[in-house]
Each structure stands twice: as C-alpha cells, then as structure tokens.
C-alpha cells in the first residue's frame, strides 16, 4: 500500500521533470533559432545560402564572423560590412546606422576602416559610428548597449583572438539583447580560434582568387570570398564561394577559380564542436606551411 503510493509519487515527479525538460528544451530552441517573432530574416542575396538558412540570417540575433589568420581580416571585414550594408538597405522600421565597436587590441596591427573604400563597397561612410573604448571591458559594455538599441540597423563588434573575458556569458548577453531589439549583431573575430558561443551562426571567411577582369588581362577582377558556415544552431553547416556586388548591395554565387587553392576537404566540418574554455582542444604541434613559394625556391 505504502509502496504503491510511493511509486505514484515518483511517477508524478518524473512526469513533472519531463514536462519541465520539454519546456526548457522549447525555450532553448526558441532562443537558438533566434527568430524574435517580429523580425524577418535577412537574406544574403545568394540563393543557395538563403535556401540553406531558410530565408537568411536571423536579424535580431548574434552572428560571428571569424578570420583564421590576421591577413584574412580584409575578407572577413568585407563579409561583415556586406551584411551590415544589407541590414541598412532593407529599411526595417526606420532603423539606421552601423555602430562599429573595436577592441583596442585590434588597433595594433589591424589598421582602420577607410571611408573611400567603404563608399565604393556600397556603404555610406557617414552612417558608420566608430566606437573605440580604451579597454576590452569598455568595448563589451558599448557592444551590449548598441545591441540593445532598437534604432540601430547593425552592430559590428571587432575583437582580436579569443580573450578570456569575452566568454560564453558575454555572448549570451549580446544575443539576448539583440533578440529583444532586433539589431543584427556581428562579432568580427580577427585571427581567432573557434570557440563555443551563443551566436546563432559562425562563419569562417577566407579570401579567394578573384575572377577574371574583362578589361585588363592581368587585372584584379571582382572579389570573392570563401565562406564556411562552421556552426549553425538552426540547421546544417555548409561552404560556399560568394562575390559581393556593391552596386545592388548583394552577395552572389561565384564560380570557383580553376587555380584556386581551396579544394575543400570532403569532410572538413566533421569535427568536434569547440569547447567553451578551449580545454578540450588537442595540443597543437605546429602547422605545416607550404614554403615552396618562398623567395629563393620560386625563382
């Protein structure tokens, strides 16, 4: 008698726990998908990517753009600026302007945005507000404030490497604030490793050889980016080759260059997810570099 009563109590508890778990899962999913409900996704313009993302990037959400090497920062900046330009273009209920917050560590070797280049890239330089706090803490505060501002089109938070202070809690805060306000929040991580974060998507950007120029034989053609969607909370990952069209402010698919260095490995993405504190990564023995292009050997 007493035993059966105990069993019923356990059952009730179990059922309740299951209900709570389901609720929490739903809530988590809702957050992960980043659909603020009222904001429509931001399409990149390239059909395959948009199909893959089910319409585009979630606007009220946090996305990370990563350049693995310091010299890839040009390409990564280009991708982030393209997204920002698209966010501004689609006049989303009077939102305007881009706030560009930089961690002072990026200033050391990164150089700064060049307004003439921005204008040619299709972004009005006068709509960019540069915020350069004196330390990382100030930069994180500024990014938080900007992510929570519902009059802003896009926020770009440029950081260098993987500072310990900018951890998963900080990204989650950014994510939540962006979700409430509908700001397109981008982390532009310069020469950083992959790290677990609350971001909806994480993109790795590598530069790619440009297409042929119609006018000049040896000329530099339209720029191309090799985009890798490393992480996608809402769906699958993927890899694409895109070009940016500054005139219509849209990304297009580009045909791969025959002499391209990027012959993507078949299973490049079948890796363990990154851990939050980077403890689980195996120790690196160093990287194998292709030195054949060095001065002495090439001639």
């Amino acid at each position: 008698m007493s035993l059966s009563r105990l069993q019923t109590a356990t059952d009730i508890l179990k059922a309740r726990t299951r209900a709570y778990e389901a609720q929490a899962y739903q809530a988590h999913r809702g957050m992960a998908l980043g659909d603020g409900g009222e904001t429509s996704p931001l399409p990149l313009g390239a059909s395959a990517v948009d199909r893959h993302l089910e319409g585009g990037l979630a606007c009220g959400g946090l996305h990370e753009v990563r350049s693995p090497l310091a010299r890839d920062i040009g390409a990564a900046t280009g991708f982030a600026l393209g997204l920002a330009a698209r966010a501004m273009q689609g006049d989303r209920s009077g939102r305007r302007g881009v706030v560009w917050v930089t961690d002072p560590a990026t200033r050391v070797d990164g150089g700064g945005l060049f307004p003439a280049g921005l204008a040619q890239y299709g972004l009005d330089p006068s709509s960019v507000t540069m915020v350069e706090p004196g330390d990382l803490q100030g930069a994180m505060w500024a990014a938080d404030e900007a992510a929570g501002c519902n009059g802003l089109a896009a926020l770009v938070f440029q950081i260098k490497g993987n500072p310990a202070r900018f951890d998963i809690t900080a990204t989650r805060r950014l994510m939540l604030r962006a979700r409430q306000s509908g700001v397109l929040a981008l982390i532009l991580r310069q020469s950083g490793e992959e790290e677990a974060s609350a971001a909806v998507t994480r993109w790795r950007v590598n530069t790619e050889m440009s297409g042929a120029d119609d006018i000049l034989e040896r000329g530099v053609g339209a720029m191309r980016l090799s985009l890798t969607l490393e992480r996608n909370r809402a769906g699958r990952t993927g890899q694409w080759l895109l070009a940016w069209n500054p005139k219509v402010r849209s990304f297009n698919h580009a045909a791969p260059h025959p002499a391209s260095r990027a012959n993507p490995p078949a299973h490049s993405l079948d890796r363990l997810p990154a851990s939050a504190d980077r403890q689980a990564l195996p120790d690196k023995m160093g990287q194998v570099l292709d030195r054949r292009q060095d001065f002495g050997r090439a001639s």
């Binding site: 010299r71 920062i73 040009g74 900046t77 280009g78 991708f79 600026l81 209920s93 009077g94 939102r95 305007r96 150089g111 700064g112 945005l113 060049f114 307004p115 003439a116 280049g117 204008a119 040619q120 890239y121 299709g122 330089p125 006068s126 960019v128 507000t129 540069m130 915020v131 004196g134 100030g138 505060w141 500024a142 404030e145 900007a146 501002c149 009059g151 802003l152 530069t207 790619e208 050889m209 440009s210 120029d213 040896r218 000329g219 530099v220 339209a222 720029m223 191309r224 980016l225 940016w244 069209n245 500054p246 005139k247 402010r249 002499a259 260095r261 292009q293 060095d294 001065f295 090439a298």
Partner: protein, 488 residues
Amino acid sequence: MALDQRARARGVRLNQTLSDARALVPDLDCHPADDQANRALLLKIAGWCERYTPLVALGSDPEEGHDHGLFMDITGCAHLLGGEAALIADLEARLRAQGFHVRLCLADTPGAAWAMARYGQERIIAEGAHAGAILPLSLSGLRLPPAMVASLGRVGLKTIGCIAGLPRAPLAARFGARLMQRLDQALGREEEAISPIMPVAELSTERRFAEPVTHQDEISRVIAALATGIIEPLERRGLGLRRCRLKLFRVDGHVDELDVQTARPLRDAKMIGRLFDERIAGLHDDLDAGFGFDLIRLDVVHADPFDAAQTEMMAHHAAGQGHDALVDRLGARLGLDRVQRFVLADTHIPERSFGRQPVAHLGTPGFGARRSGLGNTALALASDPEADGEIITRPLILFDRPELMQTIAEVPDGPPLRFRWRGVSYEIVRSEGPERIACEWWRDGRGARTRDYFRVEDRQGYRFWMFRHGLYGRETSDPAWYMHGLFA
C-alpha cells in the same frame, strides 16, 4: 611678500630683510612666492565662489603687481541666501572654515569694494554711500601702479579725498588719464564691467543641502530632480539642451565638474539623468564624495532651438531617437572623443583624405538628405552608389602608417612581382596600376616623393594596396615599397 598671523605675533614685519627676520624668529618657515600656485588656488576658490553667483572674476592685474583677489557680482543673487549681510557672513564663515584669511567688502562699484576690502573697515557699504566711504582711504586703494602712488604722495596727495576735489585737467596731464579713470570707476561715474571666468550658463538650477549628500544613488536622484526642473524653462524658450555641466560642491571646498553633450537638442529629463549616470559610471575612479556635497548645480551651457516636429510620435522617428540616444550614452560613458564619425578632407593622399570627429561635435547626424548639412560635399559624392559602379579601387582597411616591405618589382615603373610583408612572402599573380598620387609639396616640402599605387592579388587570393615611394631615376634611385591597405 606675505606673513601669516603667527609670524606677525612674533614681531616679524613686512619689508624686513630675511636675515633680520631670522634673527627674530630662528625657526622661521619661509618659501619663495609661487605666482602660478597662487593663481591656481585663486582660480579654485573662484570656482567654489560660483555657489553664490555665476559672475566671478579675477580681480588681479599681475602686470601692475597688485594684490590678487576676486570680484563677485551678486546683483540679483543676494536674496537667494537671505540678503547681503547673510551672504557675506556665509561666504566668510565658509572660507575661514577652509583655512583662508579673507577680507570682504560689498559696495556699489568694483573699485570701491576693492579699496574698502583692503584699506577700509566696514564690510557692507550701503547703497549710494560708497563715494563718501572711500574718500579717507589711501590712494593705493585706486588700483594704481605703486610708482604713481609714490609720486602723488610726494606732492602731498595721500588720500582719495585729496584728488577727488581737485581740477581734473591738470591731474590728468601730470599723471595720465589712468588716474582719473580709476577714480571715476571707484566713485561710480564710469561703468566698469568685470569679466567672469566661466561663461555664464543659459539656465541653471541648483539644490542646497543642510545635510551633505554622499551616496551615489542620492546624487542620481538629485540629478534627475534638477533635470526635471530644467525642462520647463527650456520648453518656454523653445530650446533643447546640447551641452550641460553638473557642478558638485564638496563641503571642503572642492568642486567637481561633469560635462555631458548630446548629438542633438534634448528635452527629456530621464535621458539627461541617464547620461549623467553613464558619465559617472565611466569615470576612471569613483566620484570622490569626501564628506559629501552640500550644493549640486546643473548648468545648461549650450542649448539649440528645439524643433517641435522632432517629437512626433511616429515609429521611425522613435527609432531614430533610439540611435541618437545610444550615441549620447556611449559618449557620456566612454568619453566624447571615443565615439566618432568620418569626415572627409580635401586631399588625395589617402591617409590624409579623411579624419574622424567626435559625433557630439558634428551637430546633426549626417544621414540621408541631411548629409548636405554637414558641409561635407566630398563625402556625399563619394557615397553615391551610382557614381562608381562596380570598380573598386580603394581598400576597406587602411593602415595608419604605410608599412615598409621588401619587394621585387620591374624597373623603372613596372608592377611588383613578389614581396615580403610581416614575415610572409607573397607572389603576385594579378596587379592593376599604377595610380599615381603626387605629393603635396605645399605641405611636405621639397623632398617629398610621388606615390605609385598598385592593386595586387597574390596566388592565394589576398588583395593588397601597395605603393612605390618615389619615381625611379627622377626622385630616387632605389624606391621603397609600402603596404597601405587590404581589400575584401
């Protein structure tokens, strides 16, 4: 030379030689006069005196070697403290409590007050009585150079009364117009304006406390209350606040000043309060309240006409205000010069072709149609998407200083073939150029060199902007190469 009370009590007098004084008081403590420190202290006291009136001026003209002192114009201020006598008593008591020895006098003219404070006995001269009061005083009271006072003394003119009744023309001819001017100023026959140290605020509101406030929350509440109080007069004048200053008068005489600027006219008490909260939070060390603040004042330093249409309750306007408010908040916390926008300059040298200016100083934010209001036509042209098409000639990222690299290039003016930058070698596959940008000889002088810019792409697809510094053969025999930017 100056003496304090204790030295006087032990028999030291002014104009004594130091050795005589040392003989009298062997443990005499003496310091050389430090005019700059004196002036700095006087300025601080002047800042503190603004609790009584905004019109505080330095009463010193150092070139004439006169005493230092302060003028305060308390017209219309005395009633706030319960009358002239109460104001004088309060001022003296507070300054004495801070350890200063003061001589005060209140009179109708600055000249008379100056004379009475130094040579007279009375503290308050009744209205209209100043002329009679200063007549028996020494001529030094007229703020004259000591040499003039001495030569007047030699002809027997020792008091102000002596010269007040004399014919003016011979005196002016003998001693200069300055004498008569000073006499007229003291007697009130000629107007004398004092020049306040701080610009007078357009509006100002303050709160005094019997019990000093120390707690940050209390201070925030006071700021909010002051801000609420300032909105109504702003509305009446049709103004919106652009810049305001908070003055916190500490009990021990220290005055803290906090400035806040906004990107466009503001008339919202809550926002003003938030801006100051951010400003306080952004201070490197906390606001040092010491024993507390007994007076907090909010001055509107600058206000602009407030366009009533700005407060329309339209959705996109509300959103735009969110953007402006964000910029104000960032500026208040991080410092105004850390929140910037681009402005273009009229030059072709890339690193000089633009500058960055604090948003708060740019006035109305330059968006869309209002961009032309910036006076920045170059920016408007450059950002016209139809003007440039798809050809990209300028990089997204520009290095602050071009970086020197090792480069192999065709001589004399061909494109680069290989280069080494930041320890990595690149082989160039494609290149465009040169785009020649001549030096600005009017700025850089005779030796400045021309730059030939190339847009290049390496085997891996990195796109760079680099230049050859100097024309081969004409300007240099060994031109250096510099890396200047990165394309997307």
